[in-house]
Amino acid sequence: MKTQRKVVALISGGLDSMLAARIMLGQNLHVEGLNIFTGFCVQGHTHAIRNEHRKKQKRNDALWVAEKIGIKLHIIDAIEAYKDVVLNPKHGYGANLNPCLDCKGFMVGKARDWMEQNGFDFIVTGEVLGQRPKSQKRSTFPVVARESGAFDRLLRPLSAQLLPPTLPERAGWVDREKLFKFSGRSRRGQIELANDFGITEFSQPAGGCCFLTDTAYSRKLQDFWDHRPDRDYELDDIMLLKVGRHLRLTDSWKLIIARDSGETHYLNGYRSKFAHFAITSHSGPVTLVDGDIPDADVEMAARVVARFGSTRDAESVDVCFTRSDGSQHTLTVLPMLPSEISEPWYV
C-alpha cells in the first residue's frame, strides 16, 4: 500500500496559500497548515481595536481558510525569533522597513523545523513567480529554498511548472502535470482556479498582510528606533505603533493619543505601564506618554491632549496626569490652538 505523504502548507490567510494547500488535498496528500505570527501581521489587531472596524466580521483569516478547506492549522508564536529578521535583514529592506526576502526564508525555515519535528515530508507555499518585485522572482526562489534549509522539499504548486522539479515531484509524491504555471501580478488564473474549487470567498487577494510594508507604520517604527538606545523591541512596543495618533514634541517623549473609544479602550490596558493623561472635565481620549516627560513639559502636553478631545473649543479643560509611579495631579488648561500644533510633531 502506498504511503500517504504529509505536507505542511504555509497559510497566510490569503488566496494563494489557500489554493496551494487545496491543490495538495486534490493529490491525496495529508495536509496541515502553519501560520507564523511575527507581531507585525495586519489582520486582527486593527479590526479588534478601532471603532470603524468594529462592524466588520472579526476572524483570523488563516483559521478561516483552514476550516474552509478542511485542514488543521497550527499557529506559531515567532515574535522573539523574528526580531533578528527585522533588525538585521541580510537582504535589506524594501520600500519601507519590510525585509521581505529574509522574511520568506524565515517563514519557510520555521515550516522546515515544524516539518522535521512532526514527521512531515515537504512544504508548500502560495508563492507565485514574479508576483512580488523583491521576494517572489526567479532569482530569489532558490535563495529562500537554500537559506530556509528546505532545499528541494519546498514546492510552489502555483508556479511549479515554471520551476525545476522538486523532490516531491521527482519522487512521484506529487503529480507535476497537475500543478500550475502562474506568473506575474495578474490574479486572473488564481481566481479562475478558486472558482474551479468552488472557493468564492477569500481575503486580501493582493497580499499586504504585514505592517512593515506600510509607510506610516514604518515611519513610526523608525522614529521608535531613533529615540531608543538600541533597536530591540517588545511586542507591546510594536503593537502600540499600530494604535492612535503619535505626536513627538521632544526627543525624550511622545504622546500616543487614542482616536476613538475603541482605541481608548485598548490604551486603557497600558495605563499601569505608562505615564498618561485623561480628560476629567469632558469626554476625551486617553493619552499615553512614551518616554520620560519632565515636569516642565507636562502642561504643554496636557494642552495638546485637550486639543484632541471634544474639548477642543472649550475655554478650560481639566486633565489628570498620572506619572508612571502612580502619583497624580490635575491641571486646568486651555486646549492648544490648531496653529500651535506643529506639523513635524506628527510621527
Partner: protein, 77 residues
C-alpha cells in the same frame, strides 16, 4: 456545578495570541479535560472555536459578557 480543569487568562491579548495560548495549553492537557479561556479581544470568540473545530476539540460554551468573552472547551482526540 460545571467542571473546569484549567483556566487560561488571555485577557488583554490581541489576536492571534489568545489562540496561540489556547493551543499551547491544550497541548498540555489530556483527552476529556476541560479548559476555560477568558479573553477580551472581540475576535477571540470567533477564532478559538474555529481553532477547536479544525482540531476536533469540542466547544462547550462561547459567550460574551460585556467586554469579556469565555470559551469553554473539552479536549478531544
Amino acid at each position: 456545578m460545571v467542571r473546569v480543569d484549567q483556566t487560561l487568562d488571555a485577557r488583554n491579548l490581541i489576536c492571534p495570541m489568545p489562540v496561540i495560548r489556547t493551543q499551547e495549553r491544550v497541548a498540555m492537557l489530556d483527552t476529556g479535560q476541560i479548559l476555560e479561556v477568558h479573553c477580551t479581544d472581540p475576535g477571540a470568540i470567533v477564532d478559538i472555536p474555529a481553532w477547536c473545530r479544525v482540531h476536533g476539540h469540542k466547544v462547550l460554551i462561547a459567550e460574551t459578557h460585556g467586554d469579556e468573552s469565555i470559551v469553554r472547551l473539552e479536549v478531544c482526540d
